[in-house]
């Protein structure tokens, strides 16, 4: 069956079960595959299709659905069913769903939870949105050091049949404090008569409940784990975070970073799901700020209007010169922002970066300046355009201006992110358009000042 056929089947309500969409189908479908199809269903059909599945499958499917569809489902299905779904899905999926709700929506939804889940959710939602507490899975498997492997396995069979994160089990003491983590494969690969403490290596990596999601990303990257335990300040094990949730967080973070760098406020939902006016608001904010900043170019140009009217030829190169500053600044900003995001650079390296970028700017400026010089000379020699008797002085003005502006663009583009970081602000806020605007305004001043020096007594 093609995806299209499956989609048609779902829309027609012709569904045999979540994983087997027709009686003849040999291949079973995964919940995430079905969720993929739901992404493109119109709202009402999605609810109807969802309710067409057997209850067990509804619960399996729910965590994979898009947050907007989830909200709609909880709003539309009978109260008992909403309650059943929310109380059965795993605690991290529940928490991630709740994290997307606000105000009345949240308090209404909390009513569906049973006492235990409501208390846990209340507690974890108390942590800031950016903390790892919002990703925690509270169903995890624990054993103690004095068990034998045989006993530990029996214990897991009895008490942890559905711990999602049970590729690793955690050794805790009487007070629930974390002692070690043991991959389940180590239980299998050792003789069953051995004691747990004999197969412990005393080595574990953990997160604190107060740690930020960014810290979690870093730790996962450094240690290559599939899951990490989370403890409170007394080292009591509170839950487990899995790599796939952190992978999602990383992806969202990259998206926000890119959107900021592109010169707009980051979106809360995917582009296609963002309502038109919300999209306009996210874009207009920065666009207006940049526009107000860019207005200074009109002021700067007005300041030099006397020079322009005397030598119109100067105006011809304004766009070329300021855009070269913007482009080189955007390159430098990209390199530095990304290197800081990957922890290759920190504030302490500012002096190293500065020397390197001044030199880069000089080299790149000389390259572009030379091309500019050759261009003007060629046009003049071949009579494609008449720059007047002082054409060579104009060419020299363009040459030196390009060197100055490309150096200035490179320097601003590389230093602004570093200093934003130092001020504990997001380096990506120094977006490409922001750097370009800054360089446009100052670039004009550089250009006309150099022109004034070189052309005094001739054109000016």
């Amino acid at each position: 069956m093609t995806l299209k056929e499956i989609r048609r089947k779902i829309l027609k309500g012709d569904i045999m079960g979540l994983f087997r969409l027709s009686p003849k189908d040999e291949k079973l479908m995964q919940p995430s595959e079905v969720a993929q199809i739901f992404l493109n269903l119109p709202g009402a059909s999605a609810i109807k299709a969802f309710q067409g599945f057997p209850e067990k499958n509804r619960i399996l499917l729910f965590p994979y659905l898009d947050n907007l569809v989830q909200k709609q489902i909880i709003k539309e299905v009978p109260k008992e069913e909403a309650s059943k779904i929310l109380n059965t899905i795993s605690s991290d999926d529940l928490l991630i769903f709740l994290s997307h709700l606000k105000g009345v929506e949240l308090s209404d939804t909390l009513k569906y939870l049973n006492e235990k889940n409501r208390k846990a959710a209340h507690n974890l939602l108390g942590y800031p949105k950016e903390s790892v507490a919002r990703l925690i899975n509270t169903e995890f498997a624990t054993i103690t050091r004095d068990m034998t492997i045989e006993q530990a396995m029996e214990h897991l069979r009895q008490f942890h049949q559905d711990s999602e994160t049970a590729n690793v089990v955690y050794v805790v003491d009487d007070e629930g404090k974390l002692v070690d983590d043991i991959p389940i494969r180590r239980l299998v690969l050792n003789e069953r008569s051995k004691k747990i403490e004999d197969i412990m290596d005393g080595f574990y990596v953990k997160l604190n409940i107060d740690d930020s999601k960014d810290t979690a990303i870093d730790v996962f990257k450094q240690y290559d784990r599939a899951a990490l335990p989370v403890t409170n300040e007394n080292n009591v094990l509170l839950g487990v975070i899995t790599a796939d949730d952190v992978f999602d967080v990383e992806e969202e973070k990259s998206t926000r970073e890119m959107q900021k760098f592109g010169g707009l406020e980051s979106l809360d939902y995917p582009y296609v799901k963002t309502p038109f006016f919300s999209l306009i608001r996210k874009r207009a904010g920065w666009l207006v700020i940049l526009f107000l900043g860019e207005m200074l170019t009109a002021t700067a140009m007005a300041y030099f209007d006397h020079e322009i009217s005397k030598a119109v030829v100067l105006a011809l190169f304004v766009p070329l010169i300021i855009s070269s500053g913007g482009n080189s600044g955007s390159q430098a900003a990209t390199l530095i922002i990304r290197a800081m995001a990957l922890k290759e650079l920190s504030f302490r390296d500012w002096w190293y970066v500065m020397r390197r970028e001044v030199l880069s700017g000089l080299t790149l400026g000389i390259i572009l300046g030379t091309i500019g010089l050759v261009r003007i000379t060629a046009w003049e020699q071949f009579h494609w355009y008449e720059y007047g008797p002082h054409w060579f002085l104009v060419a020299l003005t363009v040459f030196f201006s390009l060197i100055g502006i490309v150096m200035w663009g490179t320097l601003s583009g590389s230093m602004i992110p570093i200093f934003l970081k130092r001020l504990k602000l997001d380096p990506a806020a120094s977006s490409a358009p922001f750097v370009a605007t800054l360089v446009d305004v100052t670039g004009l001043v550089i250009y006309f000042t150099i022109a004034a020096i070189i052309l005094r007594g001739t054109l000016l």
Copy 2:
């Protein structure tokens, strides 16, 4: 001990072992933590420190080191040791190391491998750099469906003590074809007398050896697995890919995407490790192309030099107007490129995106145009600048030009990535500077054309 102290110890060669850096240290260090410190050691010290560790620990540490340090180590240590290291590390780490070598370096290094590893490496290096074959781990654990769980566990204990990926074991038939995957925890959680086929669910997700790394990223994201099996076209199991390697690939991909979007060729090494002239080359290429494109602005301006000399006031708003087009274009390009990278949009959606972006451009253009109109009116009314008797016509020119240019910027920014994708090119190649350059040139034409219409008979 602080990181600084540890670093000093390593530099002094005062090392007790990889994981315990002084006799008094209670806490053991992980290889990845030691590798972190190596990142900042000067070359010669790194080699010396590396050789200060016991052999077992050298082998544990090697895979975590930076590729440049790895190369240096293999070049500098005795031949037997290089051979020992490369033949002992896991096959995916070996392959990733080899993938960074070229020409003579590669053939020299292949000599260090034993027959089996060399054959495997030769085979896998034959696949393109972008294929999953380059990430494959060939040490994996297999069982057959007719074993009991007890027998399977015994089999794993005997033959797969050091399968890195053994959180999951693979059920294969007599010909080595993949039948199912079974998380080890399922072995533990079921009665040991059960047969493997009784705990199979017939459900597995796999990759083909020809699949691209991008496909691997998508599949890992969709199915939230820690490892995925890789088969050939006959479904014979060839190896396993782990999530952490894919996580690294995803990060490299994001970096390349951002660098392209910032208007430079993507770097092969981190910013700090890229030699100066290689950095210049990566940047100069695009900068020169953009500069050549931007030269068309000088041509466009020259075409209108008659208008500019008659109405210098028009020149004043050139930077403001063209940059607004660039900024709105950069916003639109960011949104669309990211949405396509996340598979939220595809080529088929171009008509939807176009309608949406034309409307966005119109709205944003009216906002900026109004601000521009108010700005000119205010300056004129308060006599901050004299735009002459026809100031209101100038203001109208700016108003309509901004609407036109912002719409045009938004439209180009959103459509170019979509059509690049259609041409099977990388959408991120339509970088912010590229869109800005395009819009600069065409924006000038829009501006002066509107000026010619509105100002004919008065200023022009």
